[in-house]
C-alpha cells in the first residue's frame, strides 16, 4: 500500500476536531460583472473577436430556438421540449473552449454546446420530429440529440449515466493517444446519482482526461438545491475525490470560457479530471411538461433575469467595439425564420420505414427479429389505417 491515501501526510490532533461546512471557501470565478463591465482585478481571457462573436451569436440563436420550439410544442407540433433559457453561457462558452476533437457527453440542456459545434437548424428539427433524416432514426423523444461527426454523444434520459461513461471514454482517448479530452455535462440534481460518485472517483484514480461540468441551476424539476444536498454546492465534492475543481459564474460567458480553457489544458497535460461547477439558474420551466409557478416565486426568477448572460456579453462586446446592433437584430430575425422554415420542412418528412424498428438492436438483425419484422409487416398490410405512418411503404 502506498501511503498517499492512507496515513502518510496525516497530521494528528489530540482533541476531537470536527470538520464542518464552511471550513473552506470555494469562491466563484467572475470576470464580467453582472452589468457587463470587466472586474477591476480580472484578467480578460485571451479570446479573439471571432470566437467571442460566435459564442454570442450561438447564445442568441439558442434563445430563439428555445422560444420557437416551446411555441411549436404548445401548438402540438412536437410532443416535448426543454429550454435552456438563462443558462446559455454555461454550455456555449464551455464548448467554445474545447477542440472539435473533444467528445461532448451532455445531459439534455446543452443544446448550446451542440449548436456551437455546428449542428444545424435542420438537424435540430429532424431530431425533434423523429423523422428519417435524424441520424438517431427517431428512436428517442425530442431533444435527445446525437451526432457522431460532431463528436456529440447521443443523449440518454436516465440521469447521471453519462458520468462514469465519460471517464471511460476519456480513458480510451488517452490509451489511444488522441490529443483529446471528454467533457461531461450534468445538472446538480443528477449529481446525486450513484453514477456521479463512481464517475468522479474512477476518473481521479484512473487519471482520465475529462472535464465534469456541472450546471448548478438551483432546481431539479421542482426540487430546490437545498433539498438536493447540504454541502457547499457540487464544487465542494471535488475535494473529497482529490479532483481539481473550479467554481464559476455560469452566467458569465468569459468566466466559463476561461475556466474551461484552463481545465482542458490541465486535463490534457496532467491526464486528470477537472470538475467545474457553473452557478446559474434555470429561468425556463423544467420542460414543456412543467409549470414552475407551483414551486417558486416570480421575484426569485426576476432576480436572476437581471443576471442574463446574453445581455452581459452584449455589453462587454460593445465595450470592445465588437458589437453591431443592427447585425444582431438581423441575426435574430434570420434565426427565427430559419427555425420556422426548417420546422415546416422537417415536420413533413416521413419517419423511418418499418424495417428500422428492428435494426441497431444488434449489429445485424438476428433471426428472431427478422421473424418479428415479417409478422409485423404482414400485419400492417392487413390494417394499413391503423399504422398510417409506415403502412404506405410496406411492401
Amino acid at each position: 500500500m502506498k501511503d498517499r491515501n492512507h496515513l502518510a501526510g496525516v497530521s494528528t490532533t489530540h482533541q476531537v476536531h470536527i470538520i464542518e461546512n464552511g471550513l473552506i471557501d470555494i469562491p466563484m470565478l467572475q470576470i464580467l460583472q453582472p452589468d457587463g463591465s470587466l472586474h477591476d482585478e480580472a484578467v480578460e481571457p485571451e479570446i479573439d473577436r471571432e470566437t467571442a462573436t460566435r459564442i454570442y451569436d450561438t447564445m442568441e440563436y439558442i434563445r430563439v430556438l428555445d422560444e420557437r420550439m416551446i411555441g411549436a410544442q404548445r401548438q402540438g407540433r412536437i410532443s416535448f421540449y426543454l429550454a435552456s433559457t438563462g443558462e446559455e453561457a454555461a454550455s456555449v462558452a464551455s464548448a467554445a473552449a474545447l477542440s472539435d476533437k473533444d467528445m461532448i457527453m451532455s445531459q439534455y440542456r446543452e443544446q448550446g454546446a451542440l449548436a456551437y459545434r455546428g449542428y444545424t437548424t435542420t438537424q435540430f428539427m429532424n431530431q425533434m420530429f423523429s423523422n428519417q433524416e435524424d441520424p438517431n432514426k427517431g428512436r428517442q423523444m425530442p431533444i435527445h440529440y446525437g451526432d457522431k461527426p460532431l463528436n456529440f454523444m447521443t443523449i440518454s434520459s436516465p440521469l447521471g449515466t453519462q458520468i462514469p461513461q465519460a471517464s471511460g471514454y476519456a480513458y480510451g482517448q488517452k490509451m489511444a493517444g488522441n490529443e483529446a479530452i471528454t467533457i461531461c455535462y450534468f445538472g446538480e440534481g443528477a449529481a446525486s446519482e450513484g453514477d456521479f460518485h463512481a464517475g468522479l472517483n474512477m476518473a481521479a484514480v484512473l487519471n482520465c482526461p475529462v472535464i465534469f461540468f456541472c450546471r448548478n441551476n438551483g432546481y431539479a424539476i421542482s426540487t430546490p438545491a437545498d433539498e438536493q444536498f447540504a454541502g457547499d454546492g457540487i464544487a465542494s465534492r471535488g475535494i473529497g475525490y482529490g479532483v481539481k475543481t473550479i467554481r464559476v459564474d455560469g452566467n458569465d460567458p468569459l468566466a466559463v470560457y476561461a475556466a474551461t480553457k484552463q481545465a482542458r489544458e490541465i486535463a490534457l497535460k496532467e491526464n486528470c479530471p477537472v470538475l467545474i461547477e457553473a452557478m446559474t439558474y434555470r429561468l425556463a420551466a423544467h420542460s414543456t411538461s412543467d409549470d414552475p409557478t407551483g414551486y417558486r416565486s416570480r421575484e426569485e426568477e426576476d432576480k436572476w433575469r437581471a443576471k442574463d448572460p446574453i445581455q452581459r456579453m452584449a455589453k462587454w462586446l460593445t465595450s470592445k467595439g465588437w458589437y453591431d446592433e443592427e447585425a444582431n437584430k438581423k441575426l435574430i430575425e434570420k434565426s427565427r425564420q430559419d427555425v420556422l422554415a426548417a420546422l415546416k420542412t422537417s415536420e413533413k418528412v416521413d419517419i423511418c420505414p418499418i424495417e428500422d424498428i428492428v435494426t441497431d438492436v444488434y449489429d445485424d438483425v438476428p433471426w428472431h427479429l427478422k421473424e418479428q419484422l415479417d409478422a409485423l409487416k404482414s400485419h400492417i398490410k392487413k390494417y394499413p389505417d391503423a399504422y398510417p405512418k409506415t403502412s404506405g411503404r410496406v411492401k
Binding site: 423523422n131 427517431g138 412543467d290 424498428i357
Partner: protein
C-alpha cells in the same frame, strides 16, 4: 362514491392510510411540496407535514435503500420512483436487499411494510425511457409482490392492501390511464385482495389474459372477435407475483385456449412464465398453442410506437389464429 381518475384514487388511498397510521411516510423525487410530476402525492405535505411527505435527492438507489432502512425500523414507507424506466439504479436494493431481507435474517428483520409505487408503460410518446414495462425483471425475484391496477377502483383498493400487506410490494401504475377516465370510487376505506386475478368478462372459446392498461386492449379485441361469434373470457391478473395460477388454469380448462398480452418485449416477459405453467398444468385441455401478443424484442421505440404496441388488431389476429389452429 365519488368520481375519480386513477391518480386521484391513488392520492385518496394515500390520504386514507396516512390519516390512520402515522408511521406511513411518502417520499421520492418531487413528491413533496410539488406533489410529484404526475401529482399523485398532491397536498400530502400540506396535510401531513414535511416529515411524512418529502422530496428526496435524485437517487433511486438511495430512495429504495432509505426506504428499506425505514421499513426495517418499523415505519411504513411508500416510496415513489418517478418512472418505471428509472427503477433500475435501485435494482440491487430491491433484488438483493428488499426481497431477501426477511429470509436472510430468519424472519428477525423484514421490510414487509415497504411499498414502491411507480408509473409504467407506453402509449404516451415517451420512447425508450418513459415507456418501459419492467414487471418481468422483478417477477423472477422471490420475496417481492407485484401488483398492477387497471382502473381507479382497483388502484385505491389494491394500493391500500399493498401498503398494509406485510410484504414488500412493487405497485406499478399504468400511466397512460392516469387521467384517461374517471369512474366511481368509494370514499370509504376498502381493500382488494393481492394474489387474486379478476374475471373481467366471462366467455367460452378462449381466455385472454393481461393486466393494467392492456385490459382495455383485450376488451377491444374481444369485441372484434365477438363479431365473428367468438366468445372471449378476459382475465385481469392484477398480481404478477405471486400470481393466481388457479384462476387462470380454471379458465383455460374451460375454454381450451389462452392468449396473453403484455407491452414488455416478448422474450423473457411474464407471459413466458404463464405459458410455461399453463402448458404444464393444462396440457390435456389445450386445443391450440398458448399465444403471446407482446412488445417486440427491441428497446421501446418512439416513432414506431404504434407499430411496436401489442394492440387490439394484433390481439384480434392472434385470437383468430388460435381459434383456427
Amino acid at each position: 362514491m365519488a368520481k375519480m381518475n386513477l391518480l386521484q384514487a391513488i392520492n385518496n388511498a394515500l390520504i386514507t392510510v396516512m390519516e390512520q397510521d402515522e408511521r406511513v411516510m411518502v417520499f421520492g423525487e418531487d413528491v413533496g411540496h410539488f406533489g410529484g410530476v404526475f401529482r399523485a402525492t398532491s397536498h400530502l405535505q400540506e396535510k401531513f407535514g414535511k416529515g411524512r411527505c418529502f422530496n428526496t435527492p435524485l437517487t433511486e438507489q438511495g430512495i429504495i435503500g432509505f426506504a428499506n432502512g425505514m421499513a426495517s425500523q418499523g415505519s411504513v414507507p411508500v416510496a415513489e420512483i418517478q418512472f418505471g424506466d428509472y427503477i433500475f439504479p435501485a435494482f440491487d436494493q430491491i433484488v438483493n436487499e428488499t426481497a431477501k431481507f426477511r429470509y436472510r435474517s430468519g424472519g428477525q428483520f423484514s421490510v414487509g411494510t415497504l411499498t414502491i409505487r411507480t408509473p409504467y408503460g407506453g402509449g404516451i410518446a415517451g420512447g425508450h425511457y418513459h415507456s418501459q414495462s419492467p414487471e418481468a425483471f422483478f417477477a423472477h425475484c422471490p420475496g417481492l409482490k407485484i401488483v398492477i391496477p387497471r382502473n381507479p377502483y382497483q388502484a385505491k383498493g389494491l394500493l391500500l392492501a399493498s401498503i398494509r400487506d406485510d410484504n414488500p410490494v412493487l405497485f406499478m401504475e399504468p400511466k397512460r390511464l392516469y387521467r384517461a377516465s374517471v369512474s366511481d370510487v368509494p370514499e370509504d376505506d376498502y381493500e382488494l385482495p393481492l394474489g387474486k386475478a379478476d374475471t373481467v368478462q366471462e366467455g367460452s372459446d378462449i381466455t385472454l389474459l393481461g393486466w393494467g392498461a392492456q385490459i382495455e386492449i383485450l376488451q377491444k379485441a374481444a369485441e372484434m372477435a365477438l363479431d365473428d361469434g367468438v366468445s372471449c373470457e378476459i382475465i385481469d391478473l392484477r398480481s404478477i407475483l405471486p400470481w393466481d395460477v388457479d384462476a387462470v388454469c380454471e379458465s383455460v380448462m374451460k375454454t381450451g385456449r389462452l392468449l396473453i398480452n403484455h407491452e414488455a418485449p416478448q422474450t423473457g416477459g411474464f407471459a413466458s412464465e404463464i405459458a410455461a405453467t399453463v402448458q404444464d398444468k393444462c396440457f390435456l385441455y389445450l386445443e391450440a398453442p398458448i399465444a403471446r401478443v407482446c412488445g417486440l424484442d427491441t428497446p421501446y421505440p418512439l416513432a414506431h410506437e404504434k407499430e411496436y404496441m401489442p394492440d387490439q388488431f394484433k390481439t384480434y389476429e392472434a385470437i383468430k389464429r388460435t381459434l383456427n389452429y
